[in-house]
């Protein structure tokens, strides 16, 4: 289980930006999100989208707990 945050165009596309999702790791989290919204699932794996787990960028797999925060970050605009 994890708290999922979406930013920028991903949140606009999904229609939400903050949701708790049942998942034991990043792969199953992606699968759950894709099942509910296939277009979002594709966008989350799109070019330039980074994943932050507990506010640190991760590449690869992570175990998730109820306290874990997973953020999907589309390409950054700068300020």
């Amino acid at each position: 289980m994890a708290r999922v945050l979406l930013f920028g165009r991903l949140a606009d596309q999904a229609g939400w930006r903050d949701r708790v999702v049942e998942a034991g790791d990043l792969a199953s989290l992606r699968a759950t999100l894709s099942a509910a919204d296939p277009e979002l699932g594709e966008a989350l794996s799109g070019p330039g989208v980074q994943v932050a787990v507990d506010k640190a960028i991760v590449r690869g797999e992570r175990v998730l707990t109820a306290a874990t925060e997973v953020a999907f970050l589309p390409p950054m605009s700068g300020g």
């Binding site: 920028g8 165009r9 506010k55 953020a71 589309p74 950054m76 605009s77 300020g79």
Partner: protein, 152 residues
């Protein structure tokens, strides 16, 4: 002297002059303070409003790391960065950067360096509400090449 940067994200309008007053106060060995204020342009009515999204705790941490790198690289006495989030009206300040150093070259270069980073690489997501609707903005090529100057 051990300097640590101050990084502030705020969804409220802020007054750069007050920040300058505070930043200039009680400096004995600082000879040079450079500041930059980025304002939302009206674009002759083409840009109705700007909306900036940050990831609190992530965005400010990322900016803080770069500010600390600037302190080390340019031997700064102090750095203050304030960045607006949320909806920003034309004429309002988006970003404020202040750098304090012994001499002006370091203060100028550090301010320039920090702005290049903030405009091209800082974790913000920006959209413009214009007469033709909403569009997400990405850094310009110029922003990218400006930022790359410091990678050499």
């Amino acid at each position: 002297m051990i300097a640590t940067p101050t990084i502030t994200l705020t969804d409220q309008p802020f007054e750069p002059g007050l920040l300058v007053t505070a930043f200039c106060t009680d400096r004995q060995e600082t000879g040079a303070i450079a500041t930059f204020v980025g304002l939302a342009r009206a674009e002759r009515g083409a840009a109705a409003a700007l909306e900036l999204e940050a990831y609190p705790g992530f965005t400010d941490a990322a900016i803080g790391e770069i500010a600390q790198a600037a302190i080390d690289r340019f031997n700064l006495h102090d750095v203050h960065i304030v960045h607006r989030t949320g909806r920003i009206a034309p004429g309002e300040a988006i970003v404020f950067v202040a750098t304090a150093a012994g001499h002006r070259r370091a203060a100028f270069e550090a301010c320039d360096f920090l702005m290049d980073y903030l405009k091209s690489r800082a974790p913000f997501w920006k959209k413009e509400h214009g007469p033709d609707g909403v569009r997400w903005i990405e850094p310009t090529d110029r922003d990218r090449t400006d930022a790359e100057r410091w990678d050499r």
